[in-house]
């Protein structure tokens, strides 16, 4: 039973695992590039979470407002189709993620140019000098 429950919610386990990997890399890794990779994984985990909650298995239809066909005049029946809203939200989140990645990489590059290293410890050492 417990196993079945875990498997039924596998999408949550996937996102939590990804998120923890990202968080670990952001906090524990000393290399700036690895931190940035961790940040990207972390953001992607949240995208996985959002996209998976919009999913629907079996019998899903395309969300077109159904009117006219059989004289029916009803608006969308949310229960029938894959919820597109979380996906659309994630388009924005992806853009935000790309922008964050760009800024982070640009700053990491400037740090490398200035201090000649991507390792946090070496950078701090050079600051102390």
């Amino acid at each position: 039973m417990a196993m079945a429950e875990i498997f039924a919610k596998y999408n949550y386990w996937i996102y939590i695992t990804l998120m923890m990997i990202g968080l670990y890399a952001m906090i524990a890794k000393g290399n700036l590039a690895k931190k940035i990779i961790g940040m990207s994984i972390f953001q992607t985990a949240i995208i996985v979470f959002y996209v998976s909650i919009g999913a629907k298995k079996g019998g899903a239809t395309i969300p077109i407002i159904a009117h006219g066909h059989e004289g029916a005049e009803h608006v969308v029946r949310a229960i029938d189709y894959v919820n597109p809203l979380p996906h659309v939200l994630m388009l924005t989140a992806i853009v935000v993620g790309v922008a964050t990645l760009g800024v982070a990489l640009a700053i990491a590059m400037s740090i490398y140019e200035r201090y000649g290293s991507m390792e946090e410890e070496e950078i701090l050492e050079r600051i102390r000098e």
Binding site: L23, M26, L32, K35, M39, F42, Q43, I46, F49, Y50, I53, A78, P86, L89, T92, A93, V96, A99, T100, V103, A104, A106, I107, A108, S110, I111, R114, I123, L124, I127
Partner: protein
């Protein structure tokens, strides 16, 4: 003419479009970027003032962006709380922009266009966060202000790069936590509109998903506002940021995050859930006590003037968070009033800091030696800001602190009251030490950096904003009662 009904959207769209225009203008003539950004921020402030006046007269305004009704479209909601915060954000940004002229010319003459583009865009993000009534829209604008903030800080070069990098990592974690919290609420309710959520959530208060959502959103806001012990990113990022940047972000970023916390607590979850269902009330007040005491002690230990100010920001965040979680009329009133007062006080101190950096090329305490004689007007204005931080009447700082202390007594949170008094004491020690250095210690030759710079009164573009803000602090203090009766009393949730 544009109809007054459209003013709410102008607050955000004018600076948004101007930001990109400023970049284009910069390609033609770099000198035009400065007046263009003043114009954009001024227009935004005018719209914010008009909207605030309307809110004071007729109550909450709902603006449907693109005429799409909520919950499908994004709604701007301006009530008594964010009408006030909008004016503060737009006003502080305008003053910071006016004062930035010389620092920007000194620090990065070739990047003026980029600087002002980011500057105005950051302000847009803050205004948008404040005005929106949509939980997801808030996230997007939070990231706009954060991304521009990272770049503006990193423009300081050298150590600002490292501070900015750490800020990116921590800031992204904060924003992602908030987004994840919004996701939890969306799963449970199917809505992102705050007013909708407030209606739908009470039936779901017992569920774990809502609890997790609340904790995640709260953690996100706390990371963004540098609430102790999540403040690690702030001192380095703000200390090494260029002075034109820190003048804008130090007063605003943390205060807008506090506003976001208040908004999420009372307009999404409601006061009943926050104070009665969530079992964290006392804990948060004690965290706030730790923030106040910790921030003050760290500030005492600094030899760097600007770094000392950054730790004071950490302590001030404790004031506001603690005030909200006192969960009574006085405390919340004090917290909201302190958002306004602290933004203006911090602006005053950082404007002064910008002048010191401009004149002495440094921001350590020894840079202040002998400044009283060389720039008496500047120092007098700074003294007003310092007295306000300490909480001496009739400056603004006294009144919000007074409300907070009353709230603490009313809630029997003696630790919080003691922390407030302790922090006032520390502030007094700190600033009188600064006065002593600036007044009694003889001025030294400015060493390093080639030719000695003549240290005298600040240029007018920096001095006038500082003096205006210092006068503003006294005016705010004198009119704090009417501020409370016009705006803040309606912003405190009913029934607590």
């Amino acid at each position: 003419m544009i109809a007054p009904e459209q003013y709410p959207v102008l607050i955000v769209t004018v600076p948004l479009l101007s930001a990109f225009l400023i970049n284009l203008i910069g390609m033609v003539d770099k000198r035009l970027c400065y007046p263009a950004s003043l114009l954009a921020l001024g227009a935004s402030l005018a719209a914010a003032l008009a909207v605030a006046a309307r809110v004071a007269a007729t109550g909450t305004i709902h603006y449907h962006v693109g005429n799409w009704p909520p919950p499908f479209g994004i709604e701007y909601v301006i009530d008594h709380l964010n009408a006030l915060v909008l004016v503060v954000v737009a006003g502080v940004a305008l003053v910071a922009a006016i004062a930035s002229k010389r620092s920007v010319e000194q620090d990065f003459p070739d990047k003026r266009a980029q600087f002002y583009t980011l500057f105005v865009l950051l302000t847009t993000g803050l205004l948008g966060m404040t005005i929106t009534g949509d939980a997801f829209n808030l996230y997007v604008l939070m990231e706009i202000s954060a991304l521009t903030n990272y770049s503006l800080i990193a423009m300081g070069g050298n150590r600002a790069l490292v501070g900015g990098f750490n800020y990116i990592i921590i800031g992204t974690i904060g924003a992602c936590f908030y987004l994840l919290g919004v996701g939890h609420l969306y799963i449970m309710t199917g809505s992102l509109n705050m007013a909708d959520l407030l209606q739908l959530l009470p039936a779901l208060f017992h569920t774990k998903a809502v609890l997790v959502g609340a904790i995640l959103m709260l953690l996100g806001a706390w990371i963004k506002m540098a609430f102790f012990p999540l403040h690690g990113w702030l001192p380095n990022a703000y200390t090494y940021a260029p002075s034109a940047t820190s003048t804008l972000v130090a007063p605003l970023m943390t205060k807008v995050s506090v506003y976001i916390m208040i908004r999420v607590l009372f307009s999404v979850f409601g006061a009943y859930y926050v104070f009665t269902v969530l079992p964290v009330k006392g804990l948060v007040v004690w965290l706030a006590v730790a923030a106040i005491v910790g921030g003050s002690i760290f500030a005492l230990a600094q030899q760097d003037f600007k770094r000392m100010l950054t730790y004071l920001i950490v302590a001030e965040v404790g004031y506001m968070v603690g005030g909200v979680w006192l969960a009574n009329q006085w405390g919340i009133t004090g917290a909201i009033l302190h958002i306004v007062n602290d933004a203006v006080m911090t602006l005053c101190l950082f404007l002064f800091c910008g002048i010191v950096v401009h004149k002495t090329r440094g921001h350590r305490l020894e840079n202040l030696r002998g400044l009283f004689r060389r720039m008496p007007v500047t120092m007098a204005a700074f003294a007003v800001g310092a007295l306000s931080m300490i909480g001496v009447p009739p400056t603004a700082g006294f009144f919000s602190k007074w409300y907070l202390i009353l709230g603490g007594i009313d809630a029997h949170q003696w630790g919080f009251v003691a922390a407030l008094l302790f922090s006032s004491l520390v502030n007094a020690v700190l600033f009188f030490r600064v006065f002593e250095i600036a007044y009694f210690e003889p001025a030294e030759e400015v060493h390093g950096h080639g030719a000695a710079v003549a240290i005298d009164e600040a240029p007018l573009s920096m001095l006038l904003p500082l003096v205006a803000v210092a006068i503003g602090l006294i005016v705010l203090g004198l009119y704090s009662t009417s501020l409370v009766s016009t705006f803040i009393q309606y912003a405190v949730p009913a029934g607590i």
